[in-house]
């Protein structure tokens, strides 16, 4: 199965980008999100705007797991915690992974949502990105 990935100009250069839905049962969350696929990132991180638009309450924030971790992303300095068991749906495929959620943005421009290596591994995806031809897709066995 091949899932197309769009190649777009974003943040100073062309990037592989995907639209997806994310869903979590506890805490209950849902949203439609555009993300950058970044093979340089080991983990998947929600952008601050995407967190805000899903209206995550303080009570829901309390259900995030682990210690706050400092992450430098796209020139922004953010502190994150883990949201476990997040279902990410792309092109008819569903992947469940823990996702990092920013709890505090200390400085810098707000980074986008990043789909990291953990998403590709959990979904058993082969990721193809031809920058010259501006073609990209995920392939699943």
């Amino acid at each position: 199965m091949r899932i197309p990935v769009s190649v777009e100009f974003f943040g100073g250069g062309i990037r592989p980008m995907m639209d997806m839905s994310i869903r979590c049962e506890d805490p209950k969350l849902f949203g439609l999100i555009r993300a950058v696929i970044d093979t340089g990132s080991p983990t998947t991180i929600l952008g601050n705007a995407d967190v805000q638009k899903m209206r995550i309450s303080q009570v829901q924030m309390g259900k995030l797991m682990g210690e706050e971790k400092e992450v430098n992303l796209g020139g922004a300095q953010i502190r994150t915690r883990i949201l476990p068991n997040v279902e990410i749906s792309v092109g008819g495929s569903k992947v469940i992974i823990p996702v990092q959620v920013p709890v505090k943005v200390n400085k810098g421009v707000p980074p986008p949502t990043i789909l990291g290596i953990d998403f590709l591994v959990a979904g058993k995806f082969e990721f193809v990105f031809n920058a010259y031809k501006r073609e990209s897709y995920l392939e699943k066995e």
Partner: protein
């Protein structure tokens, strides 16, 4: 949300997302650089420097922000190193 509603919302989201990318330079000229914008049906329905204020405004208009394209319009020349 039913599966059918989700498919329809996703289709609109994809179209709005593409529209935002295609029109980013025009939005900068219109003074939206450095602001968050909310897009619905290929139109900017709200903008603000503070994403919290933007989301509240969108909700007051009866929209579900979780299903809208809400993105930051990066100033011209911004390079994001991931």
């Amino acid at each position: 949300m039913s599966e059918q509603d989700l498919v329809s919302e996703m289709k609109r989201f994809e179209e709005d997302s593409k529209w935002l990318r295609d029109n980013e330079n025009i939005l900068r000229i219109k003074g939206l650089s450095g602001k968050f914008v909310a897009v619905k049906n290929k139109q900017i329905i709200a903008s603000n420097k503070d994403v919290n204020i933007l989301v509240k405004y969108v909700e007051e208009k009866g929209e579900n922000p979780a299903c809208l394209v809400i993105e930051f319009v990066y100033p011209e020349g911004t390079v994001i190193l991931l």
